[in-house]
Symmetry: C2
Subunit: 156 residues, 2 copies
Amino acid sequence: MSAAAKEAGLQLDGYLPYRLSVASNAVSGLIARAYQDRFGLTIPQWRLVCVLAEDGGLTQGQLVARTVMDKVTVSRAAQGLQKRALVARSDHHADGRSHVLALTDEGRALHAEIAPLALAYEAALISGLSPEEVALLKRLLGRLQAAAGQLAGETA
Amino acid sequence: MSAAAKEAGLQLDGYLPYRLSVASNAVSGLIARAYQDRFGLTIPQWRLVCVLAEDGGLTQGQLVARTVMDKVTVSRAAQGLQKRALVARSDHHADGRSHVLALTDEGRALHAEIAPLALAYEAALISGLSPEEVALLKRLLGRLQAAAGQLAGETA
DNA sequence: GCGAACTCGTTTCAGATGATACGAACTCCG
DNA sequence: CGGAGTTCGTATCATCTGAAACGAGTTCGC
């Protein structure tokens, strides 16, 4: 009774979007739990901390672009971080609507504490893969993302 | 000001869990919109249809295992499909708690209609990749998923 | 047999998500 | 100036998600 589907060439196990989703959920769930349990950070919050550690002094709009998250998500994550005094907001010098976000000393300290853990998780995940395989994987993921974006744009 | 982060070796852009999540969201979003708009199916519903087309006559517990989804998600997806008469439930011959799900003729027809679209999306996404690259990608995704599962189990 | 412990599936509830609407501030022109 | 149109960020709402509680059915041990 499964013969028909096999002829059709569509099996869920081999379907790339499915495989991608399952793998991503497994990894995200693992990481999310780790950050939540140990530092009380959500993934959006962690992303902001990470980007602000790389380049401080960004507006929320810039953070939206850098993190590929919704502006509502960024807004809420920023509020949470501000409440915990991990980021500071200062008025934008030239635009009264906008605020400039940067890590506080406390925020920087937290980032310094989490970063090794984050890298350890990544290392554990890719253990057993060669550096070439990892590089290729990242390149392929980028391609998929770009292709999806283009297709979404065409349909819209 | 970004020097410190670069020394630390942690940049969001190159962080694999981030890349994986972004790529997966882009692809899932695209697919979800397509199924929703054209057939009124959610992704969980589509997964059930797909698995039931491969192997009909499964219980929800078996579907949970095959689709890597929560039992609550499967329950709701099954209800939705039943309301639209795309799947039929019959009592399990040996277990009164359990029901056996199978596609109706209508469900099979819908599957036959969607499958080509699903394959076309996959083909569009991987256009530009060689078959070897696609095979490797799937293998690597499987490895990541397995590694994440193992790490989650260890921590629990 | 018969009660304790377990499993299947549903319901309920709290938290997260993103589309939409909105207020405030800015830009552009006439 | 001053009003139309745009952009930044927030608030609201409808939806989705999974953890936990639950009722019904089954299995096991005595």
